[in-house]
Amino acid sequence: MTSSNDLSKLEADLLSEIAGAADLSAIEAVRVSALGKKGRVSELMSRLGSLPPEERKGFGQTVNTLKSKVADALDARKAVLEDAALDARLKTERADVTLPVRLGAELEGRIHPVSQVLDEVIEIFADMGFAVAEGPDIETDAMNFDKLNIPAEHPARQDHDTFYFSPKPDGTRLLLRTHTSPVQIRTMSNQKPPIRIIAPGRVYRCDSDQTHTPMFHQIEGLVIDESTHMGHLKWVLQEFCKAFFEVDEVKMRFRASHFPFTEPSMEVDVGAEAIGKPGKWLEILGCGMVHPNVLRNCGLDPEKYQGFAFGVGLDRLAMLKYGIPDLRPFFGGDLRWLRHYGFGVLDVPTLGGGISG
């Protein structure tokens, strides 16, 4: 028989042992000695069967109360000890968060300004229905000059400072295209109007100073159908300039000029307000209505078809928009320059998200 005094003592002993447990293994030991199979509380329960039936209920209730009290005390103490143990561990775990990290390759790499600006220009012209056409750098006299209404001795041919290859046995000689206009010829010769294309690419001239390099980039634009006129050309250029320079209004000046492959011809200046330098005019491109001879040279009837063409320097557009002072370093592969003037991978020009990102 166990007296209530014995039970009280057991409870007091156990609670004191629990309170005195210094760490998680000590508390586990107390748990086993109290509630384990052979534990002191479990043992009391095993005596239940030997009690007279009328005492069983009361005894059982008393032991159960003790058991839950002890279990609660064990849990509570365990939680305290676990917190303490975690605190102790965390005190030993310490990172120097001032150490520098790498941002990752995605932010290291750069897109060249010419590629970026090309993407911008394509995005804008795509919205106006222009596809992108391409042609070879090594061209014939016919493609680069003759078919563009620049006969062999035309003075304009001298302005082009052409790079030539050595003559072939048959006397012909190839050249590096001096403009992207041969792509006009290739397109009109291979495709029935309506035509709306831009043709970006490398072009070459024997010239070198701060604003001229022997290689640079141009974009040709060409629209041919039965009704496109100079007013459409003007609109396209105005819309392009607004979209490209990302301004609401752009001042433009159209000056009569002369190119052998267009008639009438214009040169176009943009008010430098567009790049934050009011009061100046920037010459940006030449354009005009495609010359009847050029249409004829491509097998198109100038009485039926008409349209416009323009040519603009891609590098020059990049310089103007992004404040790049000198053309020569475009082709030098200097990492300092490329990192400074280049663009991030994520700066993908879109009409919805913004042309310059």
Partner: protein, 810 residues
């Protein structure tokens, strides 16, 4: 083309100011390059008179002069060192504070040897009017009444000089009158009538006979040659007004006869030449040159001619190049009393060709190669005769003419509606007619169409489009109405081709791997081209700008490697660059191909370059660039695991640490690997560098798949992983081990990865290495039991052994 405002006003009656004229010139296609007002820098200088000159008390070579600077004002005391300073001299005075352009000083009030000078009497050099610095300017008596006036006004030096950049189609505007005609048409004033000439045709026949001696096929070289002799001329310096005009536009006055020809050339776009008739031997002949012939040009240099050039010769041989330059020997001098005036027409094409061949850039060539007015050959001769008679006196002979002015009348059928159709500009018929007529076109109108006759000075106008240009540029391009280009679709459609999309994607993929995009020259040195498999003569430029840029590149690596070196020389050794651009296998369009190439130098790996506390900085290897290639291909829709890796990369790669990636025997997708040490040495690049080339044109087209994705096949059953370590011969390719293991049960084995390669220790001594793989099995229908896992494992072991000879490591 340079002219002064007052010169323009000889032909144009206008009240417009310079700014208005400039704006209009720009608008109508005569681009103004510069406007200089030479009077602007002389603003402070005034006309003054020396009243009294005394020797300086403290200096032998100086004088102290009293200067009258304005009527009715007390004179100023000025110290002057000029020997010609004397009482009564009228000269040019600079008050204190004036900037003196010729000596780059600003006058300050300070004593000169003890005497304070209140200004300065100036020399011509100090005003940058000439080199004359020996004494102060002495003005003639006409200035005596202009004391106190600004010198620039009094001397007529405030005449703005306008320079226009002519397009090659406008020979008519190589003369001031042509420019005036354009401006008058554009509403800037009225074109003045042609000046009346005196009697220029003499009674005596011209004593110099003129002959055109061309073979039939070259007859166009000089279809007409006219001349006239004036006897008893008095040559010498031309009058000041003429000299000033020539000087203002940058020409050096020579003598009256030559100055007349230069003046008419500028005034009317009509080049002429004068000969000292006494120096001519026999007839004057226009003919083709002969190889070996030479002449001493007016530029003082000897010029060889050939049989494509048009020369003017006498019995002694060539005197000059027709349309380009006259000769020294037959030219006029101050002593010339009998002058022969030449006015001829030289073929533009031949003139341009000869000009290019000889490199001679002259005012005559500038005009003849554009095509001078063929109907003004005789008119020009008469004009010159008239002017010579007025300036030099003398007695003219009759003119002599060989050939005929090559005037062709061009009439163009012109439907006025064409203007609006081509430009959108709506103009009244009357406006159109007025514009064309004021430019010199003649219009013959009937009900439906107009016949427009082109003036002889406009060889550039051939068709209706040209007339549209004439009308619209004069009407003003601002009248072209901006008109929206009709939209093709409500919402924009994609325009890029698959190839263009791939290039875009490749560019951003490579940049996302830490590579920076460069754009390098399409031409490189011949040696570099040869080193990289190119260098064929067909791809050498005949006229390169330098030997550095002389051969078309066979690939992009030479340019990138040279950029690596340049960056290293600037202190950047960890360099990761790529370029996406064209290279050339030959000179045909199909020989041009698109490459994405990259280089990684030093420790420039995708995980980061340079030393870092978080990891070792290791030099780049073939695997860094292999990853670039595989990532690029994957991003472009190519599964690189389906391609074959062969060990036959080109010679510029390290033979043991490089590979070629192929689809079948013919299609090369890419090369990658470390760059050959010998190649690096030749290019003076410091090792290590790994490089890759992906041939974008060679990639098979992307298969058009349905946009809807296939349903996700994700098993609920857990995958099982098993590790195997094989001991294989050291030359066995890991790829073969992977392939054999993966093929052991294609339906169950989901992936095989290599997690360890060990080549050291005892194995190395046996010529072997260990390759450890992890095989992931993904059951589809039921959980794998131990027995089935074991049976697959056995098969993997035996298949790998069969394929590679590898033994499972115990």
């Amino acid at each position: 083309m340079k002219f002064t405002l007052s010169w323009l006003k000889d032909h144009l009656d206008t009240t417009k100011n310079v700014a208005e004229l400039e704006a209009k010139l720009n608008a109508i296609g005569l681009e103004v390059e510069s406007i200089e007002d030479p009077g602007a820098k002389l603003g402070a200088f005034t006309v003054a008179r020396i009243l009294e000159a005394k020797k300086h008390p403290n200096a032998d070579k100086l004088q102290v002069v009293q200067v009258e600077v304005a009527k009715g004002q007390p004179p100023l005391e000025v110290v002057c060192g000029a020997p010609n300073a004397r009482a009564g001299l009228v000269g040019v005075f600079a008050p204190l504070g004036t900037y003196i352009p010729g000596s780059n000083i600003t006058l300050e009030k300070k004593p000169v040897r003890g005497v304070v000078s209140n200004g300065m009497m100036c020399s011509a050099a100090e005003l940058e009017l000439s080199q004359e610095s020996d004494g102060i300017i002495e003005l003639d008596e006409s200035f005596a009444g202009k004391i106190g006036q600004p010198y620039a006004d009094a001397a007529g030096l405030n005449d703005p000089v306008i320079e226009v950049k002519l397009t090659p189609n406008r020979p008519d505007c190589t003369g001031v009158r042509g420019i005036a005609r354009d401006l008058a048409a554009a509403g800037m004033g009225k074109l003045k009538p042609e000046p009346k000439l005196g009697a220029v045709e003499g009674k005596e026949p011209c004593p110099v006979s003129i002959k055109l001696e061309f073979p039939k096929e070259a007859a166009s070289a000089c279809p007409v040659f006219a001349g006239r002799v004036v006897q008893g001329v008095k040559n010498g310096p031309s009058p000041a007004w003429l000299q000033n005009r020539l000087k203002a536009v940058g020409l050096r006055p020579i003598n009256a006869l030559v100055d007349v020809t230069n003046y008419i050339s500028l005034d009317r776009g009509r080049p002429l030449h004068v000969y000292d008739a006494t120096k001519l031997k026999g007839a004057i002949r226009a003919r083709l040159g002969k190889d070996g012939e030479k002449f001493l040009g007016l530029d003082g240099k000897e010029h060889a001619v050939d049989d494509t050039m048009c020369v003017i010769a006498d019995d002694s041989g060539p005197l000059g190049l027709g349309g380009i330059m006259g000769g020294e020997a037959s030219g006029s001098t101050d002593a010339t009393t009998t002058v022969f005036i030449e006015s001829a027409y030289f073929d533009p094409v031949r003139t341009a060709t000869t000009g290019r061949k000889t490199g001679l850039q002259t005012d005559a060539r500038y005009r003849f190669e554009r095509g001078v007015d063929p109907a003004f050959v005789l008119g020009g001769l008469d004009l010159a005769t008239d002017m010579i008679l007025k300036l030099c006196g003398g007695e003219p002979t009759k003119s002599a003419i060989a050939g005929k002015e090559p005037v062709e009348t061009r009439a163009i059928a012109f439907d006025f509606a064409r203007i609006e159709k081509l430009t959108g500009v709506n103009l009244s018929d009357a406006d159109i007619e007025t514009t064309l007529e004021s430019l010199g076109f003649k219009i013959d109108r009937n009900a439906s169409n107009a016949k427009v006759t082109v003036p002889t000075w406009r060889p550039d106008v051939h068709g209706a489009a040209d007339l549209v240009e004439e009308v619209v540029r004069i009407a003003g391009l601002e009248r072209v109405p901006a008109t929206p280009l009709p939209r093709l679709y409500g919402v924009t459609r994609a325009v890029l081709t698959d190839k263009q999309k791939r290039a875009r994607r490749a560019r951003r993929l490579l940049a996302s791997r830490g590579l920076t995009e460069a754009v390098t020259w399409s031409f490189i040195t011949k040696d570099e081209a040869t080193l990289f498999g190119g260098g064929g003569d067909a791809l050498d430029l005949a006229n390169p700008i330098s030997s550095e840029l002389s051969s078309m590149r066979p690939g992009l690596l030479p340019g990138l490697l040279m950029a690596v070196t340049r960056n290293r020389n600037r202190g950047a050794s960890d360099v990761a660059l790529f370029e996406l651009g064209q290279a050339y296998r030959g000179d045909k369009p199909e020989d041009q191909y698109l490459v994405a190439a990259g280089v990684r130098a030093g420790t420039a790996r995708a995980t980061g370059a340079g030393r870092h506390w978080d990891g070792r900085s290791e030099a780049v290897t073939a695997f860094d660039v292999k990853a670039d290639v595989f990532a690029a291909l994957t991003a472009l829709g190519i599964d690189p695991s389906k391609a074959q890796i062969t060990r036959d990369a080109p010679s510029w790669y390290h033979p043991g640490r490089s590979a070629t990636l192929r689809l079948g025997p013919k299609t090369v997708l890419a090369h990658f690997g470390e760059v050959h040490p010998a190649t690096l040495k030749t290019l003076d690049v410091e090792a290590p560098v790994a490089a890759f080339e992906v041939f974008l044109d060679a990639l098979p087209p992307e298969k058009k798949k349905s946009r809807a994705k296939a349903p996700l096949a994700a098993s609920d059953l857990l995958p099982v992983k098993r590790d195997f370590a094989f001991v294989v011969g050291k030359d066995v390719a890991a790829g073969d081990v992977i392939k054999a293991a993966a093929a052991a049960d294609k339906s169950l084995i989901q992936s095989v990865t290599v997690f360890d390669v060990f080549e050291g220790g005892a194995l190395a001594a046996e010529g072997k290495k260990s390759i450890a793989i992890e095989v992931t099995l993904q059951p589809a229908t039921e959980t794998l039991n131990d027995a089935s896992i074991e049976s697959i494992a056995q098969k993997i072991v035996s298949d790998v052994k069969k394929a590679t000879g590898g033994e499972i490591r115990s």
